[in-house]
Symmetry: C2
Subunit: 250 residues, 2 copies
DNA sequence: TGCGCCTCAATTGCATGCAGTTTGAGGGCC
DNA sequence: GGCCCTCAAACTGCATGCAATTGAGGCGCA
């Protein structure tokens, strides 16, 4: 009967989940820009785990669409096309309308307080880095989703919100999120009031305006240049031709 | 300049994907019922790969919600609660309304033919096993999603459709999918006609009726007995008390 | 007979090792 | 000077091995 000095329930470890969370956060804060390389070794070394674990984590993130995995190639942070970004926002709108529909008039006092606290934090971070603002704004939506107590809805909203975050860093140049905060407050108010239709419409226009502010030009306005421009021309997505290489006759 | 005898594009291998697809199919055809154990060794042996690969595949399926992974325990086919099933259908309704909204009036002749062919196959399978009927019905919806050319939408619709499939095997007893086939035909007709509002409403009522036919009773009507019944009483989802074990005073 | 403890086979968590593929940098050739 | 070829380093794909945890059967005790 060893004294068992509280070493039993210690760490559930879950190293994979740890790495996933870290990478997710790094990605949405743009510490890792789209296209950034993610070699298994480096990740493993950085997090003090073996390649096996890093690899597994990359697999999970790829399933979420945050990472692109090509066989025998280094994993990279996903670079969604403009169309994919638009699609993600469309899906997000529907999912989040569902969230607020379920939540309207059903929030507890504690939940309302939590939401207000969060928006206050958004307010305070307004002068900080854009990255933090974006993260907080995203987390507001995830916080809402969490309150539905529907694990599935939480997962989908989180995933698609992260993806949208990713596209923001790709396609929106200056990022103006100030007004978004007021829209968050309006959503909370409508939720408390219990006006289902109103809050659904608010959420719709909120996300729609974020999307349209961000996804302005279908034409890539400058970033990543050649790669992006050539992407649509690579038929099967397989191997874009190098730079000055001309495809010559067989 | 080797002749390169077409050995280059041969097998991309992708053993993980292979196993995932196989398991997914086995699950939705109810060859693997909810709660079925999925030991890594056995899977690896069965598919001729190492545990590493089997493990990775299980991780992917867990991310999709088809498999439950508990630390240090054997993976099992997911057993969604009744509430989760209901949530999945709610999400599915919104996603598939989006699908048909995007598709209304935009189908090519080839696509229409493909859809009709599929429904014909559903018709022919009507006398076969329920499992095949369910699979075909699900694949109809995934086929629709595919036609949106939105990879994200395809992924979410597929996932949530598989999850719903899973719940059908749990909560619906006899399964009556005959009328569903006619509803599929009606949806195709409305899509061709291009009536957005009509087709969205059709899809809504179609899925709603499938859900309500399947998810009849919030009370577990019989299956899996004690485990299911006790589940809601396990506060943190952690470790349901054994059978005749009484929690005694400290 | 029944209840609890103990032990051990089964199984997972994770790291490491080896083989095959890709990358990109240098050198030779035009 | 530019192109191509070659080769080695870097990296991924996968299997295997070892330690830790689980849970199930067996043994002892009441």
């Amino acid at each position: 009967m060893a004294p068992r000095p509280a070493s039993k329930p210690a760490e559930p470890s879950d190293k994979v989940g740890l790495i996933c969370r870290a990478l997710r956060r790094a990605i949405i804060e743009q510490a890792l820009a789209p296209g950034a390389k993610l070699p298994e070794d480096s990740l493993g070394e950085r997090f003090g785990v073996s390649r096996t674990i890093a690899r597994h984590a990359l697999g999970q993130l790829a399933a979420e669409g945050l990472v692109e995995l090509r066989r025998n190639r280094i994993a990279v942070v996903a670079t969604p096309s403009w169309q994919e970004a638009r699609d993600a926002f469309d899906i997000r709108i529907e999912l989040e309308r569902l969230v607020v529909r379920q939540l309207a008039g059903k929030l507890t006092k504690a939940q309302i307080a939590e939401l207000n606290t969060h928006v206050d934090a958004e307010d305070r971070a307004r002068d900080g880095s854009d990255a933090v603002s974006i993260r907080l704004a995203t987390e507001f939506h995830i916080l809402l989703a969490n309150m539905t107590n529907s694990p599935i809805l939480v997962r989908y909203v989180s995933e698609v919100a992260y993806r949208c975050c990713l596209t923001l860093s790709l396609y929106s140049r200056p990022h103006s999120s100030e007004c978004a905060i007021n829209e968050h407050r309006a959503i909370i108010a409508a939720l408390v009031k219990g006006d289902e239709a109103k809050v659904m419409s608010l959420m719709h226009s909120h996300l729609d305006s974020v999307a349209s502010r961000a996804l302005v030009a279908p034409a890539p306005q400058r970033g990543r240049d050649l790669l992006d421009i050539l992407a649509p021309y690579a038929e099967e997505g397989e191997r874009v031709v190098k730079l000055p290489k001309v495809v010559r006759a067989r």
